[in-house]
């Protein structure tokens, strides 16, 4: 689960990370008032969307007058900002962050992730800030510093000083950087984060360190115990079909093909997409109905898949372990009765109660195309697509 930059900065400010003075604005007047109250001569206006790369899309601008603050805010709010991460349609900007600008001497990178290799929270830092850390790791791996944290001890002071020294800090700044690392670690641990990034961490005006941009994402599985973070979720930043699906206990991800997929289990769902691709078809979505798929759940899966106008055929692939094929079959028949389904449907059932599932589909009289196995299913759905075209 992601949150906005202004929310991340508020959270980190509470932990003692120095961030620029600033507030979020929802309209032009609001932005002007904030800039006036902040004072100074220059302000940064930043579009608040979850996607990165905002600077490249014109979503980050420095204003030298209140009029410019108004102008930039006006240009951003209500428009779809296109960045390298949003896709061509962009993302609607509904608010901007107005901050006091500062002079930057040097930029650093400071991040934390849960590293799969060490299976620990790991600090990632670099003296090359302001740019994409993945790029730095690729072109100049020696400039990326990694330090794993022992969960029983926490991030130790000596580790912070070691990282700070390797980042090139000297004198007072070593202690300052160490304090920021400790604060970021506490926020990461307390709030069940999966990722935290300060990029850039900047050496500004008088040698102070400040987090000029910050990003955090959180573990959805832990949000039951983090109501303060859950509150920050912005549904406008998420795909409406994906949100609807998760409300029904379904895991749905929209893709750009034309074969709708309804599968149980994440691994089999991916493999089904792969099998379709192998036969030169293009999956329209990833959909995992999960365990305990009731007829209602199957109906909801159909509704969501069919909301995508690109879907020209559907492949249902169920390998029932904890599920039961007869429930799935009932759900399929019910969906056919309730929804106006015009596209061919290929069904492959296997596992628990398969012998009860197939007769239900046959008896229904609906033109299900039955498949014997995964390869057969993928072949048939691609063929059905060609017939329909």
């Amino acid at each position: 689960m992601n949150i906005h930059e202004y929310q991340t900065k508020e959270l980190l400010r509470g932990y003692g990370v120095p961030v620029p003075d600033g507030r979020v604005a929802h309209n032009v007047d609001n932005a002007a008032t904030i800039a006036e109250e902040l004072g100074g001569e220059r302000w940064v206006v930043k579009a608040q969307i979850h996607a990165g790369g905002r600077g490249k899309g014109g979503g980050v601008k420095v204003a030298s007058s209140i009029d410019e603050v108004k102008q930039f805010t006006n240009e951003m709010i209500g428009t779809h900002l296109v960045t390298p991460q949003t896709g061509a349609e962009g993302r609607l900007v509904q608010r901007v962050l107005v901050e006091q600008a500062c002079n930057i001497n040097k930029e650093f990178y400071l991040g934390m992730v849960i590293d799969r290799a060490t299976q620990r929270i790991t600090v990632i830092a670099s003296a090359s800030g302001g740019m994409n850390i993945e790029e730095v790791a690729k072109t100049d791996p020696d400039r990326v510093i990694r330090e794993a944290v022992d969960p029983a001890v926490g991030l130790a002071g000596f580790q912070c000083r070691k990282i700070a020294a390797r980042m090139g800090f000297t004198g007072k700044q070593i202690g300052e950087a160490a304090k920021i690392m400790q604060a970021l670690y506490r926020a990461f641990r307390d709030k069940d984060a999966l990722l935290a990034e300060i990029n850039p961490l900047a050496d500004i005006d008088d040698g102070k360190l400040m987090a000029l941009d910050a990003k955090m994402s959180f573990d959805a599985n832990a949000m039951y115990r983090r109501p303060d973070i859950t509150e920050l979720r912005d549904f406008d930043e998420e795909d409406t079909k994906e949100v609807e699906a998760s409300g029904h206990g379904l895991n749905y991800i929209a893709l750009d093909g034309n074969v709708g997929c309804i599968v149980n289990g994440a691994g089999l769902a991916m493999a089904t997409m792969d099998a379709i691709s192998f036969h030169n078809g293009k999956p329209a979505n990833f959909l995992d109905v999960g365990g305990g798929a009731s007829p209602e759940k199957v109906g909801n899966a159909f509704r969501i898949v069919l909301q995508d106008p690109n879907v020209k055929a559907i492949l249902v692939n169920i390998f029932a372990g904890i599920n039961r094929c007869d429930w799935i079959a009932e759900g399929l028949v019910q969906a056919m009765r309730e929804l106006d389904i015009q596209v061919p449907i290929v069904v492959r059932l296997a596992g628990t109660n398969v012998e009860k599932g197939a007769p239900i589909l046959e008896a229904s009289g609906f033109p299900f195309i039955m498949a014997n196995n995964l390869d057969d299913a993928a072949t048939r759905v691609v063929a059905a697509l060609e017939d329909a075209a």
């Binding site: 832990a222 991800i253 089999l268 379709i276």
Partner: protein, 289 residues
Amino acid sequence: MSVFVHKHSRVIIQGFTGQHATFHAEESMKNGTTVVGGVTPGKGGQEHLGLPVFDTVHQAVAETGADVSGIFVPPPFAADAIMEALEAGIGVIVVIADGIPVQDMVRVKRYAAGKDAIIIGPNTPGIITPDACKVGIMPSHIYTPGRIGVVSRSGTLNYEAVQQMSEMGMGQTTSVGIGGDPVNGTDFVTVLRAFEADPETEAVIMIGEIGGQQEVDAARWARENMSKPVVGFVAGVSAPPGRRMGHAGAIISGEADTANAKMDLMEELGVHVVRNPALIGETARRVFS
């Protein structure tokens, strides 16, 4: 023989009296598994499925000599349950729960360091040595005793591969689901090492997915240390980068994480890679015959 669980394994179920635990404990017993009791705090002294219920794992181990535990408690309580089993000296801990907070597992792994135990999962269908011991939720009837070791991250894709094998007349020594989470108890290398050491296992099928590097690490290990052939598949060739595909661990966060990148490397390292998931069984037959 087999790996991790066998016909002498003595199994307890944590969260024993819950609905799913009850159903799957009964299924396991029908499949020949020796379930010796279970744990549900507050229900100690009762009987369930004709077996004793204990308040703590410590008591259960002392009374029954259990050495394997299947953990069926909900995700918020699972980390504590795993540590309880570790502390009580259980040797094989199978964690079914899907949705344990990642940082909980980070702490569990730290707690497990230095203890002589195998944690299988979380987010796994479990482990099965056909007709001898099953701890998990997989449909037992698709598994048959045989000579092939199976290890996978995904549950349903494990079923898919096993079904394809069964249709070709190939059975399994043991099938291990290591789970779909980014921080898990047991990695591919640990399971490959066990299969290599098991005299009955003649070959291994390894089924991975996008995210992380453990399939490649395993292939590298296998090249140096394994005499038995390995057939491999990585799910998610058609998955877009940056999106979490159901499993918390299935996300492409860099070029090296993609299914094709991993399969290319595995192939270079000597794994018999299957590019079409529908042909896992057929490839296995060709390679192993």
